[in-house]
Symmetry: C2
Subunit: 377 residues, 2 copies
């Protein structure tokens, strides 16, 4: 077995999920994640955890959903709910063998099943859950990469010195927690392109140090971002990293905000999809998240939001729902049925300012070597 699989398992069990002796662990294994599951089981044994293994097969799900008569599903079956209610941790090992395994299940059936399982999902989210990814050929294909190339990409993102990164991210978190306003600027590279210059209020917000560990209320491995929930957004922002939403590619999304809400929008492709998102509900026109990517192990965009939004030298803004963990106890924050992340590359001619002080310039943070040098570039 690739030694990196063992290292991945070690990080997952020790750093991310913080498994302790006697913990009741549910490990959820995708069709293609068998090898990682074997390595994780070894670590769980070593920690004297209690292991139950579920099989998350796209093909089984498809067969079950297509076999089902009508779209009535029983709400929250007792056996599955009881399982999660008695679990301490849920480890999801993603890695399908075919990203389109459930492609011919109708949206109606999919939606009905998802709605019926809502309380079970909630029960799972109240555990110390962690979701991670095992590189499979199907995922490599989805990323447009060779298999070995994709393995390198995934392990570079996952096998980090998370403890050091958590310390560094803590610095940014503290700056955000102490600050009142964030301003993001980026010079247009062509005349046709809009200038990015956008401000948002972050007073009284608590930033989350998303260090890929339940200890930091961070549930994805890899992670590596600091995020908060801004309000009162004003200005224009160009998202120059393409992303796919429900199968549709969005390029160069541009949003203009006034008093916290989108007043103008455009996209070079599939602008109607963008319109659908923004008109979902009132909250869909306001920001729910400002995230600053800090995982420098991620060196390219693969159109997988799990990786893209964590990439160093990027920021992302999400329209829609805000995370409760960023908000003061007495505030409910922005509400919406959607939460759609949009990404801007900050590696050139770009700055992040907090209360008028530049904290990141051209991707370099002010505590990093090269920050001053980056001024001139």
């Amino acid at each position: 077995m690739d030694e990196r699989i063992h290292e991945h398992a070690r990080i997952l069990v020790e750093w991310s999920a913080c498994i302790e002796s006697g913990d009741n662990v549910v490990m959820v294994v995708d069709e293609g994640a068998h090898e990682l599951a074997v390595a994780v089981a070894d670590r769980l044994g070593e920690r004297n955890a209690n292991l139950l293994t579920l099989y998350a097969s796209g093909e089984i799900k498809r067969a079950y959903l297509r076999g089902h008569r009508g779209t009535e599903f029983e709400t929250d079956p007792d056996h599955e709910r009881a399982l999660y209610e008695n679990a301490d941790s849920v480890l999801s090992l993603r890695g399908g063998r075919n990203a389109s395994a459930t492609a011919d299940v109708s949206g109606e059936t999919r939606q009905a099943y998802s709605t019926a399982m809502q309380d079970i999902r909630e029960a799972r989210l109240t555990t110390d859950w962690v979701s991670t990814i095992h590189p499979t050929r199907a995922l490599a294909q989805q990323a447009g990469m060779a298999f070995e190339e994709y393995q390198d990409f995934v392990y570079d993102a996952i096998i980090r010195d998370w403890e050091s990164l958590a310390v560094e991210m803590q610095r940014l978190k503290e700056l955000l927690d102490a600050g009142s306003e964030v301003r993001i600027r980026k010079t247009a590279t062509t005349n046709a392109e809009p200038e990015t210059d956008i401000t948002m209020a972050i007073e009284d917000r608590t930033a989350v140090n998303s260090a890929a560990s339940v200890r930091y209320d961070s549930h994805n491995l890899p992670s590596g971002e600091v995020f908060t929930a801004p309000t009162d957004t004003d200005g224009t922002v160009l998202f120059d990293v393409p992303m796919t939403y429900q199968g549709k590619r969005l390029r160069n999304v541009c949003l203009t905000f006034e008093n916290g809400s989108v007043v103008e929008y455009s996209a070079d492709t599939n602008e109607d999809v963008l319109e659908d998102i923004l008109t979902t509900d009132d909250g869909a026109k306001r920001l729910g998240e400002l995230g600053i990517g800090m995982n420098r192990g991620i060196d390219r965009f693969t159109d997988n939001i799990l990786f893209d939004e964590k990439m160093g030298n990027t920021i992302h803004l999400a329209v829609g729902r805000a995370y409760q963990s960023c908000l003061p106890a007495d505030e409910s924050g922005n509400q919406s049925a959607v939460h759609v992340d949009l990404i801007t590359d900050m590696s050139e001619d770009a700055t992040v300012e907090i209360d008028g002080e530049v904290v990141q310039r051209n991707g370099a943070f002010r505590w990093e070597d090269g920050f001053e040098a980056s001024r001139g570039s």
Copy 2:
């Protein structure tokens, strides 16, 4: 997909497990049983059952058990127990990719884990559980057969007209229920071989019509036997079908009973293993079961007791524990830590009598064509 997999799934869900709308079903999938699991999921969907899928991987189990420090396992973890306590049915789809997947786990660890999981096993056994087998290359190898040959063998055993077989087995059950004594005789084929002539009491016993359906309290697919719990065994029996017990091959086991207990024993190979079995405890010297195989889809011995003991033209006797379902309510029956099945081929020069009347001669039952003709053969 092989059409027989769909037919297997249909029999499992409809005939064996009798799944109904709203049932909470746990499907336990071995590493090599994915295809059957997909077909079963389709049927479960069609019945509007609630499906949760577990992954029973020998490699994961090995890693977990070997990773474990010491041999202390937590007794009956809550999450797993809660799952089974809230399940209506458990469908185990056996079919590993390597019959020796856990070969290097110590017996001590294995035993400790098994003991710790005892209540969970019991919880599973109180559901409408069914265990079946998906033909894999590993199982074919274990049976000494080519893969396609083994697939034919397994599906011939599973894809039967179970409803008709259940009716036929009911006839034998009724004869056994009404009878007081069973006598089994078989002529020795060589002078060196002992004559089989053994009698046992079955008064007040209830035979089980093991028709591969929870409706008949029968939990294996395939099945196809009628069995009861005899007492007061007297005489000598030669088991001429070889079998493997804990990795050791036993050939031509011969047992002589007096007043219900073994007084003499021999075997052509591994007689010490036989001795170990018989000296486990007091009950290990008495019979726990008389079974009469009636599945004519099984046409050869494969050293897998699941199939061998169900084969038409065979009877099996088990030393050790009796099944409660065969006993009067006020009787506890034979108690033992073991239950070891031993098989005799009844296809030639052999009879089964109940209260002096021949009910099977040379494999033919008295209600079958050829029963009278078989007298002369």
